[in-house]
Chain length 434, copies 2
């Protein structure tokens, strides 16, 4: 008999069913047993009233979180609070018995510290709200790809092993590689630009990036999934921002249609489809806005400034998103293009969502001599990055792009405060297990 997912059982179609899942709870009253079975789609009550000796023996051995196959009859029962139906089992087979005691009580998770939950991540993931996070991640990525495919983007898988550092050399993991050193990619930056020099026009990549960052904040990790986009023939960073806002609106519209109610029910958050265009705030304006709120910052935005600007965008434009543009060259890498008439300002942007940075982007400098000069000015040695500089020597079109954090999107979307809660398996300086 074919398995039914319990969430799709319908009391208007009673009859024989096979269900398979985890024992969520067992309540026994004399010779009656009420079992709640959970699978990836929901829960259902299984009722044993004066069961056969055989069934009674199986049920007496059942432990919470054991995995079972149950064959029985679905019947309507208006007295059952759980969706007005129950299964009367004919056979219960234990596929995999759970040990006792459990790592922690799933229903009591909220009082369990996050380190314990992370130690037992596979167990914590059984909570339906966690499954929803990853169903959402799956749907979000698929919507992203639909947009990219409709717009003729090419997918690349760039190497994570590099012969020389991709960017500054800070926060870099180094490894032994057949008698020399290799480095883990901190971003696909150089390689997605290589695709532009190769004539790929528009590319995306979704993959891991690595940062040997010793900090322990709730939003940092040493490995995370980066979403990267690069496109050629842009006139400025404005073209990149226009692409990104259209893309995000497409993704959020899909998610709102398919998951809006479930997100509201589970996380208490309304998923808003953003209006186009997103507000743009230059760094010059950002400084003024923040200082009017009594906050000043040096060089780059700090988290407090991000939050202030997020509130400002909401107050002034009724918008959850805001592009912050035109960063000074001091806080941007050498490959960001600069304005011809303002050589200390880059054609760059960040994107804030509800006051959290989710993107860094820019038009890139594609002129070989200018790029060399900017790298030298930043104090870089050119020899280790000559392979990268070569991309611009034999015809490279003007281009730009952005990087986007998948887990930051999920955190912001769902109002989750810690990146661990939306990461399949979190990595930090003191966490390499499980």
């Amino acid at each position: 008999m074919k398995r039914s997912l319990v969430g799709f059982l319908d009391s208007n179609s009673p009859g024989p069913v096979r269900v398979q899942g985890w024992i969520q709870s067992i309540r026994s009253l004399k010779n009656r047993h009420f079992v709640v079975l959970r699978d990836s789609s929901g829960v259902i009550q299984v009722t044993l009233d004066s069961p056969s000796d055989e069934l009674a023996a199986v049920v007496s051995q059942l432990t919470i979180e054991s995995v079972v196959t149950i064959d029985g009859d679905l019947v309507r029962n208006d007295h059952v609070r759980l969706r007005g139906m129950e299964i009367i089992p004919r056979a219960v087979r234990v596929e995999n018995s759970s040990a006792v005691p459990l790592p922690f009580s799933l229903s009591g998770w909220a009082s369990v510290d996050i380190d314990t939950r992370t130690n037992w991540r596979f167990f914590d993931l059984r909570r339906p709200e966690n499954l929803l996070v990853f169903r959402l991640q799956t749907a979000a990525e698929h919507a992203m790809r639909e947009f990219w495919l409709q717009n003729k983007f090419i997918e690349i898988h760039s190497p994570k092993l590099m012969g020389s550092p991709s960017e500054s050399g800070a926060e870099l993991f180094e490894l032994e590689y057949f008698g020399r050193k290799a480095y883990l990619a901190q971003s696909p930056q150089f390689y997605k630009q290589m695709a532009m020099a190769a004539g790929f026009d528009r590319v995306f990549e979704v993959g891991p990036v690595f940062r040997a960052n010793p900090s322990f904040t709730s939003r940092h990790d040493t490995e995370f999934t980066s979403v990267d986009v690069e496109l050629s023939w842009v006139d400025s960073h404005e073209d990149v921002m226009q692409l990104e806002e259209r893309w995000l609106a497409y993704v959020l519209e899909k998610l709102a249609a398919d998951f809006g109610d479930e997100i509201q029910r589970t996380f208490g958050v309304d998923l808003v489809i953003p209006k186009l265009p997103f507000p743009r705030i230059s760094m010059r304006e950002a400084r003024t806005i923040c200082s009017e709120e009594g906050h000043s910052f040096e060089g780059d935005l700090d988290p407090a400034a991000e939050r202030l600007l997020g509130s400002y965008a909401m107050r002034k434009f009724n918008h959850e998103f805001a592009f912050i543009t035109e960063y000074p060259i001091t806080v941007r890498p050498f490959y960001h293009m600069r304005f011809d008439d303002r050589p200390d300002v880059t054609k760059s942007f960040d994107l804030l969502w509800k006051g959290l940075e989710v993107t860094t982007g820019a038009q890139r400098e594609h002129r070989y001599e200018v790029l060399q000069a900017q790298a030298r000015e930043k104090g870089l040695r050119l020899e280790p990055i000559q392979y990268y500089l070569d991309f611009f020597r034999f015809g490279c079109p003007p281009h730009g792009g952005f990087g986007f954090g998948l887990t930051r999107m999920l955190m912001t979307m769902l109002g989750v405060k810690n990146v661990r809660e939306v990461t399949f398996l979190y990595r930090s300086p003191n966490r390499l297990h499980p």
Copy 2:
């Protein structure tokens, strides 16, 4: 003016156009200049007949592979061999001038050794057949994901940094991680199984895996893109094979419809949509078939045996694919499930396509005590993998899955002999650049 891709220009719609791309060739006859412009969609002729002094000056400076923007008029001209049309330019702007000499001649690539082409990978990728490889990869992955989404799979991004080796410890990259050792994941094996213990039912992952393999064959690399699938509630490895063959047929049907002609034209290969079910050949039969051809092998299939079995499947079943099943436990990892009645045989399979292995799969052992015993029997220390064994202590459903090589698929599909030709950037023991 908006950019037109040259491949979509139509001589029945003449008029003003803007095109942007690379100068593929320039031929000058006195005061006439014939320029071929290439972009991601194709090539077009740009004809300058007695051009203005201004235009003549630009053209006289043009170098091959320079990047230009051309505004002009598309006109029909039956004398032009290139699709019977040409562009008469009004303005030519050089966006990025190419240096001279070029790394090599793109049209003469076939006589350039593969190491030189790999050194200048961004340049070699400009050949249209290379762009086609990555357009195909993009379409293949998207079709895979459509199938998965239709079948309620969840996407995971498992960590590539691990605190202990995932499998044998051979071919493992090791790195310094905040004062201790970390390892690069050789596969997402343990983590996709973790998703089963977490109740995710069905998962997939497309991501990099790392093998410190010192060999230098045309089909090995130290980093490649692995496609991984795992699903719960299987009765045996047969369920996994049925899933995989339906999935592959779906993908190949899509590719044949959208790219069949182009693949035939470019690579001279017919893309065949495979019939279901794929042939199954047990290892016992495989030994007999090979020995009848005068070839014997110890334990696992060797490449010669794979080729013989590929030919056999074609001869006997007229099928490009063949599942080889029931491998002896000696050549399979500890976590492959064994037959109850044949404890030296695993519920496992490989998939051959045209005689090349593209998949390894199995039902997994999900019973904690049995798994422990099998690990001990293989000589593994249990302590470093206890975090993995724990997945099976608190209720884990029966499950199985497979790993699939994305580049091997492309090699086999297109009849390409070297994995470098279908890898965006190849990594081997002596190659970490570009």
